[in-house]
């Protein structure tokens, strides 16, 4: 405190910072106030309104939205099989994409984390992140071009003489496109998790007589599981809600398409909102499970 007093006419900066230090609650409310206010008003408020809208309904006679409480939308969702089919299809593809991405990520992540020189590691990480800067739409369209019967993939397959692979617009195309789009997001947390494993663990495992696969199964995998789950959150949730890629490279409907289709001319926002609650609920469960697996610390 002597130092402060000697500074004589303490500048306002010093006085403010001293005040804030002694009054942590003010500091807290000041620093948290702005972001929280922003968040609550803009984001949560919008979500709350959407949530409320799901319980309203569209009056077909006036084409206006009636603000009366009703469960009609949810009833329709449960009764009509097609929504279940679409939900399961979307979840299935999301899962397939996640698993594929994890498998594809692993070699590169392991190499960068444990086998590469620091310079190589930097280059690899840049190489993984860089495609993200090529616009999302451009990458989807690149795959659209690759997958047409007259595109690159078919050309490549025919070149090897193995017949032809005309994926065109199909669920396979959607799966491939999503795998490509979300690969970097799955890779980076796995890399981070692998990198954090102290080399001594692996040496100890080796000393105790475990061979490669056993070490992986008993030591490495449990340690990187939170990282894998963290990466999977993004590939799963991004696939679950996407409507642009299925529209461009697919020939069937996903959750996002259904929501989008009900918003335009139909103006059936209540129904769209009700169906929107489905991916929200799925993600809420997924996030809770991920939290249990420790993924939030690995984020």
């Amino acid at each position: 405190m002597a130092v402060t007093a000697e500074r004589g006419s303490a500048s306002t900066v010093r006085r403010t910072s001293a005040f804030l230090f002694r009054h942590p609650r003010t500091k807290l409310s000041l620093s948290l106030g702005a972001p929280l206010a922003w968040f609550i008003v803009v984001y949560l408020g919008s979500l709350a309104v959407l949530f409320a809208t799901a319980f309203w309904h569209l009056d077909v006679f006036t084409t206006e939205i009636v603000r009366g409480f009703t469960l009609d939308n949810f009833q329709e969702l449960l009764e009509n099989d097609v929504y279940r089919t679409i939900t399961l299809r979307t979840m299935g593809i999301a899962l397939a994409v996640t698993v594929t991405d994890i498998v594809l990520s692993f070699p590169l992540a392991y190499y960068a984390a444990r086998l590469a020189t620091p310079r190589m590691r930097n280059l690899l990480l840049i190489a993984v992140v860089l495609p993200l800067w090529a616009n999302y739409l451009v990458r989807v369209f690149a795959w659209k071009t690759i997958l047409t019967p007259s595109g690159f993939l078919n050309w490549l397959v025919e070149l090897t003489g193995a017949g032809s692979l005309q994926l065109g617009r199909s669920n396979w195309s959607v799966w491939l496109t999503f795998v490509y789009l979300w690969l970097p997001f799955t890779l980076l947390p796995i890399y981070a998790a692998l990198e954090r494993i102290p080399g001594s663990f692996l040496e100890a495992s080796n000393d105790l007589g475990a061979k490669g696969w056993t070490t992986f199964r008993s030591v490495v995998f449990p340690l990187i599981l939170p990282g894998i789950v963290a990466g999977s959150i993004f590939s799963f949730s991004l696939t679950l809600g996407d409507y642009i890629a299925p529209e461009l490279v697919g020939n069937t409907q996903f959750i996002g398409n259904v929501i989008y289709d009900n918003v335009g001319i139909a103006g059936n926002i209540p129904f769209a909102a009700a169906y929107a609650m489905v991916p929200v609920a799925i993600m809420a469960i997924y996030l809770l499970l991920a939290k249990r697996a420790g993924a939030f610390e690995a984020l």
């Binding site: 949560l44 408020g45 979500l47 709350a48 309104v49 959407l50 949530f51 409320a52 809208t53 319980f55 309203w56 569209l58 077909v60 006679f61 006036t62 084409t63 206006e64 939205i65 603000r67 409480f69 329709e76 009509n80 099989d81 097609v82 929504y83 089919t85 679409i86 047409t148 019967p149 007259s150 005309q166 065109g168 617009r169 529209e247 461009l248 020939n251 069937t252 409907q253 259904v258 989008y260 289709d261 009900n262 918003v263 335009g264 001319i265 139909a266 103006g267 059936n268 926002i269 129904f271 809770l288």
Partner: protein, 424 residues
């Protein structure tokens, strides 16, 4: 769990608050049936800018690679000082979503197709206009005439005029001449799993338009093939008629359709790479596809659906005078002729057909191309009987529009049925 419960508590409070006050803005203003939100009865000074929503090809300004000669926007900008900014949309759904932003105060107007126009009118998103403002209404082809037209229900409601007619065209049957022989004459090639006692040879390469309004095409087909259903207007369907149409489409989707198109370029690509050989198409798809593939178009015996697009002005247009000037500009015969040549549709201004004829004669002297104007390729320009035969897109609503009353199926159910057809 305590934290989760606290969080749910917060959210529920917010939800109740939200439910108690404020609306969610998704329904636009007005819309209590009959009363237009705004009526525009005079054109004043231009505001210097114009925000439009349009279909691709409707607002060429000379920047399209290879087609720099087609430009009817720059002369308008020079004439009126209104700088045009266009946002393109590929589906009517997109157009409506864009149009409704900011309560209609972001865009001045759009080239509305029938499957969206009635919705916009009912929702009070577009304003009415006084036809006297536009002298060219005198030259509008008879079926689209605002006063006694027989095919104007998509832009004239209860005698009130909601826009200026622009281009119209059919959804004809396009086919690959090398693969599909003999040339088809009926829609049965796209709807029937068996043709002449044998399995449909084109199953898997048939295409359909990926939009709920396509249900009307199925209804139109059933009008001829299943007269017991009593379908008169394919957009005004009772529950029974609607269910029959939906069933036909579910069967088509399951057994016949390869890939459907909502992006018009998808159909062009499909015909060019051979994955599609027959199906419903727009004139512009035909014009592009025939550059790279052996295609032709026919008018099937059951008839065709079609669309007549109208420039409509927003009820809260930020630049209303520029929009009204644009609407007048696009009613001119020479503008519509230029669009017709570029896009392949027919202009609603009957004088535009002669302009197209002279243009074709000048551009291709001695080839007799002017005769094409009277064919399907240019939508039989100027032929009122043809236009009357088209089942123009309309937005289905519960009002059957005749003595059946309010028992027809609303578009929101068409959209949900479409999800069932496509999603299963």
């Amino acid at each position: 769990m305590r934290k989760a419960r606290k969080w749910f508590a917060v959210l529920s409070v917010l939800a109740v608050v939200a439910a108690a006050c404020g609306d969610d803005g998704g329904d636009g203003g007005g819309g209590d049936g009959g009363e237009p939100a705004t009526t525009y009865s005079e054109i004043g000074e231009g505001e210097g800018a114009l925000e439009l929503i349009a279909w691709h090809g409707y607002t060429e300004d000379g920047t399209t690679e290879g087609y720099e000669d087609f430009d009817w926007v720059t002369p308008f900008e020079d004439d009126t000082g209104c700088q045009v900014n266009v946002t393109y949309a590929d589906t009517s759904d997109e157009m409506v979503t864009l149009m409704r932003q900011g309560g209609g105060s972001v865009y001045d107007g759009l080239s509305a197709s029938g499957n969206a126009s009635n919705r916009l009118i009912a929702g009070g998103d577009v304003g009415a206009i006084d036809p006297a403002l536009f002298p060219e209404f005198d030259n509008v082809i008879a079926p689209l005439d605002p006063e006694d037209g027989t095919n104007n229900a998509h832009y004239v409601v209860d005698g009130v005029v909601y826009g200026t007619p622009y281009m119209y065209g059919p959804n004809f049957l396009m086919y690959n001449t090398e693969v599909v022989t003999p040339a088809p004459t009926s829609w049965d090639i796209t709807f029937e799993p068996t043709l002449n006692g044998e399995a449909n040879p084109y199953a898997g390469s048939i295409t359909a338009y990926d939009d709920p309004v396509y249900i009307a095409d199925a209804a139109m087909y059933l009008k001829t093939t299943n007269p017991d259903l009593g379908i008169t207007d394919p957009y005004e369907l009772t529950q029974e008629q609607f269910d029959a149409s939906v069933d036909l489409l579910k069967q088509q989707h399951a057994e016949l359709t390869g890939a459907s198109w909502s992006l018009w370029t998808d159909e062009v690509d499909g015909f060019v790479d051979g994955s599609m050989v027959v199906g419903t198409a727009w004139p512009v798809n035909f014009s592009y596809a025939e550059l790279d593939a052996p295609v032709d178009a026919v008018e099937p015996v059951e008839g065709m659906t079609g669309w007549a697009d109208t420039w409509m002005i927003s009820a809260n247009a930020p630049h209303p005078n520029c929009m009204l000037q644009w609407m007048d500009w696009t009613m001119q015969a020479d503008v519509q002729a230029e669009v017709g040549v570029y896009y392949g549709a027919a202009g609603s201004n009957v004088n535009s057909c002669d302009e197209i004829r002279s243009f074709l004669n000048e551009a291709y002297p001695g080839e007799g191309f002017d005769a094409l104007v009277d064919t399907l390729r240019y939508s039989f320009c100027g032929d009122a009987e043809f236009l009357n035969s088209l089942y123009l897109w309309k937005t289905p609503s519960v009002e059957c529009g005749d003595d059946r009353g309010n028992v027809c199926i609303d578009y929101s159910e068409w959209a949900q049925a479409w999800t069932e057809i496509r999603g299963s």
